[in-house]
């Protein structure tokens, strides 16, 4: 597959780009240039890899979920254990990369947006690790839904700013982080948590997260003597999915499936299935698929998982969808919850609700496939943060 994206101006075919107010253009140009230089610098790459090994705990293992696979009675499910990373999710890979870049650019203050809180925690973590001031923007709604992560960020020395504008969720936190950046651009580095936003973020975050797929490329042959037949990952903004998909793009026999949040069902309108049900537009600095009304206003989304509750998606996923190289599907809150419980009970692993969407689709697919078929699911995070949500849903008080 001849695939060279993005182009020099950050376009993934018709998607991506730099759709921001002029004030941010110079900052993004400086960032793009600093990143280009850093990725060619062997010492930067070596430090990144060293941090991933000794601080994050990479490589993360791949685990054969044998008992669950047997119960489902079909394809074999393997889990890429990003939940075992320091801070409990894949988010830290990108945060290490961007924090090293912030330090290289001499920016003492870092800011971030967060939905579920995982990216906020990962940013607060690296800020503590590198001695940077850290401010995390979080929708008021999410501050309530994810109280444990809010406390975690504060423990790590970050300031958490609740965002009360718009729908008070991830998209509004992103708006507010951009507003902070535009105001404090001289000393501030914006550690964006996903493969969306203006160039160079989609490319840079993809590159930092690609460590996930790169490891799978050598781990799978070690485990089963070949690559998997399917790679499955959940998609909100899409960083864990791009991280595992990207190194597999050229392995054309491997089917790539991104799983979005269907919430209460795509047909109900209460969902966050951007690629399944949205159409292209411009938001948060890039052109991509969006959930929007007929007048171009961004719609409120719904998902049981705060990390998938986002009306946009990374521009590279938009391109992969149009090219047909990846397929995008959606599973409901209920299906994700069922998979969440199944993994707890059959494998002794408590998955994040985000990752449970990928698991749910694997559970749907597996029974229809022969036993020799191998599904590799990116278990992007652990579910400790979701205890409260799941307990509430099950009517359990704790």
């Amino acid at each position: 597959m001849d695939y060279h994206y993005p182009d020099a101006r950050g376009h993934f075919g018709p998607y991506g780009g730099v759709y921001v107010a002029e004030t941010l253009v110079p900052a993004l140009e400086a960032l793009a240039q600093a990143y280009e230089e850093a990725k060619r610098d062997a010492s930067f790459r070596a430090e990144f890899e060293d941090e991933l090994k000794h601080y994050v705990g990479r490589p993360s293992p791949i685990y054969h979920a044998k008992r669950w696979s047997e119960t489902l009675g079909g394809a074999q499910i393997y889990l890429k254990r990003e939940d075992l990373n320091h801070t409990g999710a894949h988010k830290i890979n990108n945060c290490i990369g961007q924090a090293l870049l912030a330090r290289r650019m001499g920016k003492p203050r870092v800011i971030a947006e967060t939905g579920a809180g995982q990216h906020g925690v990962a940013t607060a973590t690296v800020a503590a690790r590198y001695g940077m001031r850290c401010i995390v923007y979080m929708g008021e709604e999410d501050v309530h839904r994810q109280a444990a992560n809010v406390y975690r960020m504060k423990l790590l020395g970050a300031e958490v700013v609740p965002v009360s504008s718009g729908s008070r969720t991830l998209k509004d936190a992103l708006n507010e982080a951009m507003r902070d950046w535009v105001t404090n651009v001289h000393d501030t580095f914006y550690i964006l948590g996903t493969v969306a936003g203006p160039h160079p973020y989609p490319e840079m975050v993809r590159d930092f997260q690609s460590v996930i797929g790169k490891e799978c490329l050598w781990q799978m042959p070690e485990l089963i003597g070949r690559q998997p037949d399917y790679v499955i990952a959940c998609v909100g903004g899409g960083s864990n999915a791009i991280g595992i998909f990207y190194p597999y793009l050229e392995h054309e026999s491997v089917r790539l499936i991104g799983v979005e949040a269907a919430g209460e069902g795509v047909e109900t309108g209460r969902h966050a299935a951007t690629l399944v049900a949205g159409r292209p537009g411009v938001l948060h600095g890039n052109r991509t698929y969006l959930l929007q009304d007929e007048h171009g206003q961004i719609r409120e989304t719904h998902s049981i998982s705060a990390g998938l509750d986002y009306p946009g998606v990374g521009p590279e996923h938009a391109l992969l969808k149009d090219l047909g190289r990846a397929e995008y599907v959606a599973v409901t809150d209920d299906e994700a919850l069922a998979a969440f419980h199944a993994l707890c009970r059959y494998e002794g692993i408590i998955p994040a609700l985000e990752s449970s969407h990928a698991l749910a689709y694997a559970a749907k697919l597996a029974p229809s496939l022969p036993r020799e078929t191998v599904l590799l699911v990116n278990l992007s995070g652990r579910g400790d943060k979701d205890m409260h949500t799941v307990a509430e849903r099950s009517g359990i008080r704790w």
Binding site: R9, G17, V18, Y19, V20, A21, E22, T23, V25, P26, A27, E29, S165, G166, K171, D172, N175, M178, R179, V182, T183, V185, H186, G281, V282, L283, H284, G285, L290, Q292, E294, H295, G296, Q297, I298
Partner: protein, 270 residues
């Protein structure tokens, strides 16, 4: 000739500076905006920037965010913004109207359909905040073909060459963002704004308007001494918050803008 060019040519002859109020269409209500547009002209506006409300106004501070949310809650759409311009044109054939907003509502309507509808409604220029020059080439060409001016922002952080891009693609005027921040921020440094303007003039012959953070007559006059136009948005919208009806809103903006108009005119002759 585009009304914006005519207006700046006339002001130049008179040795006066343009006063450009910004209001969000549909804030606090559609009816109020309809009454406000002629009231702004009566109060001394030379050109009106009319904001297209958007759900995610990334470059705006709290005042314009609130105004946009309120306008959307009233059912404001881009088509209705154009209706407001059309109504305004029935009684005012001369005052230029520039639409200011974000790309997505325009793209949702379709660029071609939007440009045609804007031309037909009597719009004179369009400033799309999140279309910097490098992403706006086809849209700018479409606007120019329809006789409308694509208007671009320049910021304190812009490299000097950005002004060349804006001069090449843009028309009407250059909107110089007076501070590195969002609209309505309170930390405008007049001296640094004034220092930047001569450099811009070397690269573009377009009139230079300054906005973001101009909150009073004194600052307006200081900026007006060097720039060609001052834009006042957030502070104006603040005067509208809590107005009981359209008449009250018109009275408030007139009493807010008149002294600024006066000081701006006096400041220049002084």
């Amino acid at each position: 000739m585009n009304r914006i060019d005519r207006t700046f040519a006339r002001l130049r002859e008179q040795g006066r500076k343009a006063l450009i109020p910004f209001v969000t269409a549909g804030f606090p209500s559609v009816e109020t905006t309809r009454a406000l547009l002629p009231a702004l002209v009566r109060a001394g506006a030379d050109l009106i920037e009319l904001g297209i409300p958007f759900s995610d106004p990334m470059a705006d501070g709290p005042t314009i965010q609130r105004a946009s949310e309120r306008a959307l809650a009233q059912g404001m759409t881009l088509a209705r913004v154009l209706d407001l311009v059309r109504d305004f044109r029935r009684t005012d054939a001369d005052t230029p109207v520039v639409l200011m907003g974000y790309a997505n509502p325009i793209e949702a309507m379709g660029e071609a359909r939007f440009v045609e509808a804007a031309r037909e409604a009597g719009v004179d220029g369009v400033l799309t905040v999140d279309y910097p020059p490098q992403e706006a080439e086809p849209f700018a060409a479409r606007l120019r073909e329809a006789g409308l001016h694509p208007i671009f922002l320049l910021a304190p952080t812009s490299r000097p060459e950005r002004a060349d891009e804006v001069a090449r693609l843009g028309g009407g005027y250059v909107y110089y963002v007076s501070l590195t921040g969002v609209t309505g921020a309170g930390s405008l440094d007049v001296a640094s704004v004034l220092a930047r303007i001569p450099g811009l003039r070397e690269r573009t012959g377009l009139p230079i308007a300054v906005g973001f953070g101009i909150r009073d007559a004194q600052t307006a006059a200081e900026i007006g001494a060097v720039a060609d136009a001052v834009v006042i948005g957030s502070r104006l919208l603040e005067t509208l918050e809590g107005a009981s009806d359209a008449d009250e809103a018109c009275r408030r903006v007139e009493s807010f803008l008149r002294p600024i108009r006066r000081t701006l005119d006096e400041g220049v002759t002084r």
